[in-house]
């Protein structure tokens, strides 16, 4: 029987994943906090059925992406709009995020992609293998390769324009 202590221990080590997924999908700090809470709850719900406790990152990515996309449906969809203040202007005092300019530009460019391409690029940037990405998103391995290349080209275009 997996204990709550071991769950919290694992969560504590991998919580960065939830933060990063949230950052790609939610502009608003309160929405990100909400999403963080919901993801932790969904992880807790499916934790007893987790087989690979040694390397739970793929499972956390899957749950975090699924939760964020479900949350997006419930809340207002985060469409990238240039007329809205970006996260940099928001000054996340509570998260104490101190991101440098390069990271900000990259985040801004990724947020301009559609929801699925954001997940694809996130997993690519997190150095997940094509096989792992295909399992998390439910695509074929060959399609993952094609889609990542396409998303990267779009990202580069966005980076030039940002």
């Amino acid at each position: 029987m997996k204990s709550r202590r071991s769950f919290l221990n694992m969560l504590s080590a991998y919580q960065g994943i939830i933060h990063k997924v949230g950052l790609l999908y939610f502009r608003d700090l309160a929405e990100r906090e909400d999403n963080f809470q919901e993801t932790v709850f969904q992880l807790w719900r499916s934790y007893p059925r987790l087989k690979n406790t040694e390397n739970p990152s793929s499972w956390i990515y899957a749950v975090a992406i699924n939760t964020s996309i479900t949350q997006l449906k419930r809340k207002s969809r985060m469409e990238y709009r240039k007329d809205l203040p970006d996260i940099q202007d928001e000054k996340d005092v509570f998260e104490q995020i101190a991101r440098n300019e390069e990271t900000e530009i990259l985040l801004k460019a990724i947020r301009q992609l559609n929801e699925i391409d954001r997940s694809l690029l996130l997993l690519f940037l997190e150095e997940k293998s094509y096989k792992e990405i295909s399992v998390i998103l439910g695509m074929s391995v060959s399609n993952v390769g094609v889609r990542i290349n396409r998303a990267k080209s779009e990202l580069k275009k966005n980076l030039k324009n940002t």
């Binding site: 719900r45 499916s46 987790l50 899957a62 749950v63 991101r99 990271t103 695509m139 990267k152």
Partner: protein, 204 residues
């Protein structure tokens, strides 16, 4: 930016989060669990008051009016509709809620679409158009007959009662259709969004 540069820039994000301690995470989980329990209790109470209240009224009034056959048929049919519809909706809601978050995004979206599409675009998706007026008329008749302390047949012979029914029927129908339309529109938007995401994944 090349791949390495992109990844290096991305990895800098790790340094920018203030990690929550295990105690904070435990507290956050407890808070969420309490919130979920409260939400379910609240939703359960509303359903219980709405469906349970009507069912109790129908059964109670049947016991009190055992002589009026039309009234008994009307109420039993209503009770059957409410139980069947309420049961199916509850089963669907549980099925929807229990789709595992562990599954791949495509599988999860596919299962959600299947459930929503069955209700919104399936073979029986327009049954509500017929069900609302039938259900509403039967319920209105049941309440009216019961509180007027007359029999079903007498109500149809009473001009005053008939006028009351004729006036309240269109108002009630308008409100019911309006609410049903709003809920349907909201769910159709959800379905559309899910299909949009699903198509994005399937895109070659």
């Amino acid at each position: 930016m090349e791949n390495n540069e992109l990844q290096n820039t991305w990895n800098q994000l790790d340094k920018s989060f203030v990690s929550k301690s295990e105690v904070e995470l435990d507290h956050l989980l407890n808070k969420k669990i309490s919130k979920i329990i409260l939400k379910y209790v609240y939703e359960f109470m509303i359903s219980l008051v709405l469906c349970g209240g009507v069912l109790i009224f129908l059964i109670y009034s049947v016991i009190n009016r055992s002589g009026d056959v039309l009234f008994i048929y009307n109420n039993l049919l209503l009770a059957f509709i409410i139980s069947t519809l309420g049961g199916s909706l509850l089963a669907t809601w549980l099925k929807f809620r229990n789709i595992s978050y562990k599954k791949s995004l495509k599988t999860r979206l596919g299962e959600q679409i299947k459930i929503l599409a069955f209700w919104l675009k399936g073979k029986y998706s327009n049954v509500y158009l017929f069900l609302i007026p039938v259900f509403y008329t039967m319920l209105l008749l049941s309440i009216h007959v019961y509180f007027e302390q007359a029999t079903f047949a007498e109500i149809f012979n009473n001009e005053e009662s008939l006028t009351g029914l004729i006036i309240s029927l269109p108002i009630g129908l308008f409100v019911s259709y309006y609410v049903a339309h709003k809920i349907r529109k909201y769910q159709l938007n959800n379905l559309e969004h899910l299909e949009y995401l699903y198509n994005k994944i399937q895109m070659p």
